[in-house]
C-alpha cells in the first residue's frame, strides 16, 4: 500500500504554511502588545504561501488533494481576500471594541479551509475544507460578542450552515452508495459508465442545494442578507468574497469533473436557479436602505451571474467565472472598505442616508465609492464591465443568447440601486452633521489597491484573462 512520507506533503506546502501560520498567529497574539502584529504576521504568511503555490503543482494522497492551475487561481483570490480583509480590520476592530488577536487566526484558518476546498479531489477533503472554512466564519460572524446583531447573525449562519452541511453529507452518501467512491474523477468515470438514474440525480440535487447555500443561490440564499448585515463589516467583506469563491471552486470541480457527463440534465435546473437568484438579489437590493444589506443582496445577485460560468461549462465557462470572481473580489472588498471608512465611534454609517452629499464633504471617499459602484454595475472602463462582458460572451458562445439577454436586463435593474448610491453622494446635499471618516493607513492602502486594480483591470484586462484561461485548463 501507500507509504506515508514527507514528499507526499509537497503539493500541500502552501496549506501546511497556512496551518502553521494560523497556530503561530494564535501564539504571537498571546505575547504581542499590539494585536495588529498578528494581522501583519498573517499577511506575511500569505505572502510565503503564495510564493509556494506555483511550485506545488501535483497530486497527493492518492488524488484526494489536487494542486493545479484551477486551484492556484482560486487560492490567489483567497489570499487577496485575506490580505485586504486584514487591512480593513485593523482599525475597524478597535472601533468595534473587539480587538482580539484570534480574529486573525480565524481568518487564516478559514482561508486554509477555502484552499482545501479548491484543491479537493475527493468529497471527504471537500467536506473537511468546507467545515474548516465554515466553522471559522461562524465565529467571525459573531465576533463582536457584545453586539446582539452580530450574535444573531452568527446563530443564523451557524444553524443554517450546519443544516446545509448535513444536506451536503447526505448527497455525498448517496453518491458514495451509487458509485462506490468519493474521489471526484472516479465518480466522473462511474457516472459515465452507469448513466443517469433517479437516485443519482437526487444526489446531484442535494449537492446543488449545499453549494447553492454556500454561494448564496436562491432559494438557498435566505441566510445571506441577515448574516451579512449583522456580522462585523470586515467579516462581511471577507465572507462575501472568499467562501463564495471557494464554494464556486468546489462547485465547478465537482459538477464539471464528477457530473460533467450529465451536464445537459442539470444545467436546466441551474439556469432556473441562476435567473431566480438574479431576480431576488437585484429586486430586493432595490428595497434596501442599509448599504450593508444592499451589498448583501448585490452579492446574491452576483452569485447568479457567476454561476453562468458553470452553466456554460468547459474551460471557456470556468475561465469566465474565475475571472468574474476575481474582479468581484476587488470591487466588493473596495465597496465594503468605504462602508468601513464611514463607521466611526458612535456612528454606524451604514444607512444610505449617511451617503448624502458625501461628494461635498469627502470628495475622495465619494470618488472611490463611485468607481466601485460603477464597477459593480458593470460600466466600462471599470473591471466589472470586463467581468460581465466575458461572462456574457461565454454564455452567448454556448448558445444561451436569451439567458445573456435576461442577465443584461437584471444588470440594468441593478444599475438602479448602485447608481442610487452615486446619486445620494453627488446630487443630494449633506444633511445634519457630516460623517467623519475613520481612515487609517491600512484602510487607505486597501482602498488604494482595490481602486487601482478595479481601474487597471478595466483598461488592461488581458493579463487577468490569459491567467484565468490558463488556469481553467
Amino acid at each position: 500500500m501507500n507509504e506515508i512520507n514527507v514528499s507526499m506533503l509537497a503539493p500541500l506546502l502552501p496549506e501546511v504554511i497556512m496551518a502553521s501560520a494560523g497556530i503561530l498567529v494564535l501564539l504571537v497574539e498571546l505575547v504581542a502588545r499590539r494585536k495588529e502584529t498578528a494581522g501583519l504576521l498573517s499577511i506575511a504568511a500569505v505572502a510565503v504561501a503564495a510564493y509556494y503555490v506555483p511550485h506545488s503543482f501535483g497530486k497527493s494522497f492518492g488524488g484526494m488533494f489536487v494542486s493545479d492551475g484551477y486551484s492556484a487561481f482560486f487560492k490567489f483570490i483567497f489570499f487577496i481576500n485575506l490580505i485586504l480583509t486584514v487591512l480593513l480590520s485593523m482599525r475597524y476592530l478597535v472601533i468595534e471594541k473587539s480587538n482580539h488577536g484570534e480574529y486573525y487566526s480565524l481568518v487564516v484558518f478559514s482561508t486554509l479551509g477555502m484552499m482545501l476546498m479548491a484543491s479537493a479531489g475527493d468529497l471527504i477533503v471537500l467536506y473537511l475544507g468546507l467545515e474548516l472554512m465554515a466553522l471559522s466564519s461562524y465565529v467571525l460572524a459573531g465576533f463582536i460578542r457584545h453586539d446582539a446583531r452580530s450574535s444573531e447573525a452568527a446563530v443564523k449562519y451557524f444553524l443554517l450552515g450546519a443544516f446545509s452541511s448535513a444536506l451536503l453529507l447526505y448527497g455525498i452518501t448517496l453518491v458514495y452508495g451509487l458509485t462506490g467512491t468519493t474521489d471526484v474523477s472516479l465518480i466522473g468515470a462511474a457516472v459515465v459508465e452507469k448513466g443517469l438514474s433517479t437516485p443519482l440525480f437526487l444526489s446531484v440535487v442535494f449537492l446543488m442545494a449545499a453549494f447553492g447555500f454556500k454561494t448564496a443561490l436562491a432559494p438557498f440564499h435566505m441566510w445571506a442578507p441577515d448574516v451579512y448585515e449583522g456580522a462585523p463589516t470586515s467579516v462581511t467583506a471577507f465572507m462575501s468574497v472568499g467562501p463564495k469563491a471557494a464554494a464556486f471552486a468546489a462547485f465547478g470541480r465537482v459538477f464539471l469533473t464528477g457530473f460533467g457527463s450529465l451536464s445537459t440534465d442539470w444545467t436546466g435546473i441551474l439556469v432556473v436557479l441562476s435567473i431566480l437568484t438574479m431576480a431576488v438579489g437585484n429586486i430586493l437590493a432595490i428595497q434596501q436602505d442599509n448599504i450593508k444589506r444592499m451589498l448583501a443582496y448585490s452579492s446574491v445577485a452576483h452569485a447568479g451571474y457567476a454561476v453562468l460560468g458553470i452553466i456554460v461549462g468547459g474551460a471557456e465557462g470556468l475561465a469566465a467565472m474565475m475571472n468574474y470572481l476575481f474582479i468581484y473580489g476587488f470591487m466588493n472588498l473596495g465597496a465594503f472598505a468605504v462602508v468601513i471608512m464611514l463607521r466611526s465611534e458612535g456612528v454606524r454609517g451604514e444607512a444610505l442616508e449617511d451617503y448624502k452629499g458625501l461628494a461635498k464633504t469627502h470628495p475622495f471617499a465619494a470618488a472611490v465609492m463611485l468607481v466601485f459602484m460603477f464597477s459593480l454595475t458593470g460600466i466600462p472602463p471599470t473591471a466589472g464591465f470586463i467581468g460581465k462582458f466575458y461572462l456574457f460572451k461565454a454564455v452567448v458562445g454556448a448558445g444561451y443568447a436569451w439567458l445573456a439577454v435576461v442577465t443584461v436586463i437584471f444588470s440594468a435593474i441593478s444599475a438602479y440601486f448602485y447608481l442610487r448610491v452615486v446619486m445620494y453622494m453627488y446630487m443630494l446635499e449633506p444633511e445634519g452633521e457630516a460623517v467623519t471618516l475613520s481612515l487609517s493607513p491600512s484602510l487607505g492602502l486597501a482602498l488604494l489597491i482595490t481602486t487601482l486594480v478595479v481601474i487597471l483591470i478595466g483598461v488592461y484586462p488581458s493579463p487577468l484573462l490569459s491567467f484565468a484561461r490558463l488556469a481553467a485548463g
Binding site: L123, I124, Y127, L128, E131, L135, Y138, V139, G142, R145, H146, D147, A148, R149, S151, E152, A153, A154, V155, K156, F158, L159, A162, F163, A166, L169, Y170, I172, T173, Y176, G177, G180, T181, T182, P225, D226, E229, G230, L284, Q287, Q288, R293
Partner: protein
C-alpha cells in the same frame, strides 16, 4: 442477515426526522440537536454502505463527520451562549432583528 436497504431506510428516516425537527422546533438547542440527528442519519447510511461495498472510505468519512460534529458542537454552543447573553432567550422566533 439484515439487508442493506433496511439500513438505508433507517438512515434516511433519521435524517428526515432531523430535518423535520429543525423546521418544527423553535428552541435553538433542539434545532441544533436535530442537525446532529441528520448527521447520524448520514452516518448510519455511510457505515452500512461501507460495509456492504467492503470499502473503507465510507467509514473514514464517518470518523471525520463525528470529529467535525464535535467541533461544531463546541463552536455552536459558544455562539448560542453569546446569543443568550445578549438576548436572554433561546427562542428562534425572538431573534429576528434583521429582516427584509
Amino acid at each position: 442477515m439484515v439487508p442493506l436497504y433496511w439500513y438505508l431506510w433507517l438512515g434516511g428516516v433519521v435524517f428526515a426526522i432531523g430535518v423535520f425537527g429543525f423546521l418544527a422546533r423553535r428552541n435553538i438547542i433542539i434545532m441544533f440537536l436535530s442537525i446532529e440527528l441528520m448527521l447520524n442519519g448520514v452516518n448510519i447510511s455511510l457505515v452500512a454502505l461501507s460495509h456492504y461495498m467492503q470499502d473503507l472510505r465510507g467509514q473514514i468519512l464517518v470518523f471525520f463527520i463525528i470529529a467535525v460534529a464535535a467541533a461544531e458542537a463546541a463552536i455552536g454552543l459558544a455562539i448560542i451562549i453569546a446569543m443568550f447573553r445578549n438576548r436572554d432567550t433561546l427562542h428562534a422566533d425572538e431573534m429576528a432583528e434583521m429582516k427584509g
